[in-house]
């Protein structure tokens, strides 16, 4: 049958689809129609495709970091130094002391045997290229861990609040309000500076601080999603059959409510990496010399009077960080359109 026979204007595609013999792909069957629509939204607009490509490139850089920039010494996250001179050196200047293995792609591309500072060095002769490549791993690490932890806290608190309602809901949501009053960057900064003397300088203090002050958004989203699902018939059926409330919540409600949150959360990696870079820019977090974008940028703070000369300490790590965040934002933007309840059933 043709669509036009049912509906001459061709407007009512949804109706047509329910009657049609449209093939349902295995993916749609496994994730369900609502979630399938969300996944389809990922590749719908040119913007989100560009975003996916950017993310893919960064994933590749992170995976192939040892090939792209061969490490020196035992700890690959320590940026190799070419001496200890304070003044930064420009892109393309030859590598003198402590030369790492010349990556094979460089030899094949340029035919050059001598390894150079491709993107220059920052103060203290830290190689910027190396920092950017291995900083990608740092970014994914921190982003992933912080997002998983914040979602976990958010989902647990949000679903408890939504499911039990009443006083419990009120208490949890007021605590959420209190955490939301405080400015995020400032509180993350404060908490990591409290934790640094206890845990030492590492990735941990800023990560814990960002988790402690980053879960509120997810708690709110999951709460409202569960509130809308709680009244559905199958939940009532589960209640009527005498299941325990914990089982209803975690087996029947959460799996049906969590998908939008997970999608939004995975796109939150961009924001987390941005926050982490901001903290290390302010001088909190890893020890000096750790491969991390914010730290290379923080070196620029000592050279602001001559930034026109040493532009490469700002421009290269700055562009990298911006592109990384932009990749996640482009996809996130497309996702928000798809997940907007007002848009439901329109695509």
């Amino acid at each position: 049958m043709t669509e036009n026979n049912i509906n001459p204007t061709g407007d009512n595609k949804l109706l047509a689809e329910t009657h049609s013999t449209r093939k349902i792909s295995w993916l749609e069957r496994t994730v369900g129609p609502d979630n399938y629509r969300i996944l389809k939204g990922l590749v719908k607009t040119p913007a989100s495709i560009i975003g996916m490509i950017l993310i893919a490139i960064f994933i590749l850089i992170a995976i192939f970091a040892p090939v792209i920039a061969p490490p020196v010494g035992n700890d690959p996250f320590k940026m190799p130094r070419d001496g200890f001179v304070g003044e930064p050196k420009g892109p393309g200047s030859p590598w003198k002391k402590n030369v790492p293995d010349v990556p094979f792609w460089y030899q094949t591309l340029t035919g050059n045997e001598e390894w150079v500072h491709l993107l220059g060095t920052a103060q203290g002769q830290y190689d910027i290229f190396y920092g950017i490549v291995w900083g990608t791993r740092t970014a994914f690490q921190t982003g992933f861990i912080v997002v998983v932890a914040t979602v976990l806290i958010g989902v647990i608190l949000g679903s408890i609040a939504a499911y039990y309602g009443g006083g419990v809901d009120n208490l949890i949501m007021r605590i959420t309000d209190i955490f939301m009053t405080l400015p995020y960057i400032m509180m993350a900064l404060i908490f990591s500076s409290v934790l640094t003397p206890i845990l030492g300088r590492s990735l941990l203090p800023p990560m814990i601080a960002m988790i402690a002050f980053g879960w509120m958004g997810y708690a709110r989203i999951i709460r409202s999603d569960i509130l809308s699902i709680k009244e559905r018939d199958y939940v009532l059926a589960a209640k009527a059959s005498g299941l325990k409330s914990g089982r209803i919540l975690f087996k029947h409600i959460l799996p049906n409510a969590i998908f939008p949150t997970l999608v939004l959360a995975s796109l939150g990696i961009g924001d987390v990496v941005l926050g982490f870079a901001a903290l290390s820019f302010l001088g909190i977090g890893t020890e000096v010399g750790y491969a991390d974008w914010g730290q290379i940028l923080s070196f620029a703070r000592n050279w602001i009077t001559s930034l026109d000369k040493y532009w490469y300490i700002v421009v290269y790590p700055g562009i990298t960080l911006t592109l990384f965040v932009m990749g996640w934002n482009l996809v996130g933007d497309a996702m928000r359109d798809v997940l907007d309840p007002r848009m439901r059933g329109k695509s």
């Binding site: 007021r174 309000d177 400032m186 500076s193 001088g283 700002v314 700055g318």
Partner: protein, 354 residues
């Protein structure tokens, strides 16, 4: 509406207690020696002094007992002087800056306000204007361009943007500079030749009719103003655009068009005022955010506001100072959020008449 305002007012003490508890909880992670900075200025020199301090200020008591002392301070039995006590405006002593935290606040907060004052107008006007333009030309070139801009704008990290601005406008062109004022201005200020009525440098300069000082203040503030406006434009553009699109679909807009009103009147007099409601909330929270200390922008441009003070204290791991500043900004934020919500209640008939 009275109901709404009463409920909103009742929330304030809850928020204040919550925020102080969070911050005090963080303080408890410190050792007693560091915590003694809440009450006394000098670092204890030996074991005996440390023990004396712990005993005198109850630094080993239970959480809530200590919380109580932190709020009210401890009255010295000998001199009758009160030491510490945030309710009495004593946030402790900054050992890295060698001055009471309150003095840091008094010195730095006017600068933050000064900057916020000059950022509000460019931030709001341009952002809203762009959003209206984008909505009116939905899906046309202007709209697409605005959309691309808003994504780039939200992805550009504040400090990267700030560093690039510094590179171009300061290091290369030399038009503007970081910091707060030039040396000759600071001499004027310290000698008292420039009378300080408000402690906001730009306003004081105008009140003293010293336009050269005003120009100097502006040259130091323009780069942070550009940065702060730039990062907020993208958000305002987005919110204004979607709210405006929503409004343009309403029946009364169709009616206005059907009456034969000019498109300009439809947009400027019927649609835009109604589309402003969500933007008022946004504007409120952005302005509140400016007051709460813009840590990154102030640090990039070496602008001596509250945010820079917090960043410096954090870099020196001076926790008592930074938590004192947090209490101050937290209180400011809670109170200004209250004001914004009440203003909103007056503007939005749905709340006003409820």
């Amino acid at each position: 509406m009275t109901n709404y305002i009463i409920r909103r007012l009742l929330l304030v003490p809850v928020l204040l207690i919550g925020v102080t508890l969070i911050i005090f909880g963080m303080l408890q992670l410190l050792g007693p020696v560091e915590r003694s900075a809440l009450y006394v200025r000098d670092f204890p020199k030996n074991e005996k002094q440390i023990e004396g301090l712990i005993k005198k200020y109850g630094l080993d008591k239970s959480f809530f007992e200590q919380y109580w002392r932190w709020l009210n301070g401890v009255v010295d039995p000998g001199s009758g002087e009160r030491q510490g006590g945030i309710l009495y405006g004593d946030f402790g002593y900054s050992r890295t800056a060698s001055q009471p935290v309150v003095d840091i606040v008094k010195e730095r907060f006017p600068n933050t306000v000064d900057l916020a004052l000059w950022t509000i107008y460019p931030m709001l006007s341009v952002g809203i204007w762009l959003g209206v333009k984008a909505a009116v030309n939905q899906n046309k070139f202007v709209d697409q361009a605005a959309r691309v801009y808003s994504i780039i704008g939200t992805s550009f990290p504040t400090f990267v943007f700030g560093l690039l601005i510094l590179m171009l406008l300061y290091a290369k062109a030399g038009w503007f500079m970081p910091g707060k004022m030039s040396d000759w201005v600071s001499k004027l200020v310290f000698s008292g030749e420039l009378k300080q009525y408000t402690h906001l440098l730009s306003i004081d300069a105008l009140l003293n009719l010293r336009f050269d000082v005003f120009w100097d203040a502006m040259r130091h503030m323009i780069m942070p103003i550009i940065t702060l406006s730039y990062i907020n434009w993208a958000t305002f553009l987005r919110v204004t655009r979607s709210s405006m699109l929503e409004t343009l679909r309403q029946d009364y807009v169709v009616t206005a068009r059907a009456k034969g009103l000019k498109e300009n009147d439809v947009i400027n007099r019927h649609a835009r005022p109604n589309a402003m409601l969500p933007i008022v909330t946004m504007a409120g929270s952005s302005i509140v955010g400016l007051l709460g200390g813009v840590v990154l922008t102030e640090t990039v441009f070496n602008y001596p506001g509250i945010g820079k003070a917090a960043a410096d204290a954090a870099a020196n791991l001076d926790v008592v100072t930074i938590l004192g500043l947090a209490i101050f900004t937290g209180t400011i934020l809670i109170l200004s959020n209250l004001i914004v919500d009440i203003i909103y209640a007056f503007i939005d008939p749905r709340v006003r008449l409820a």
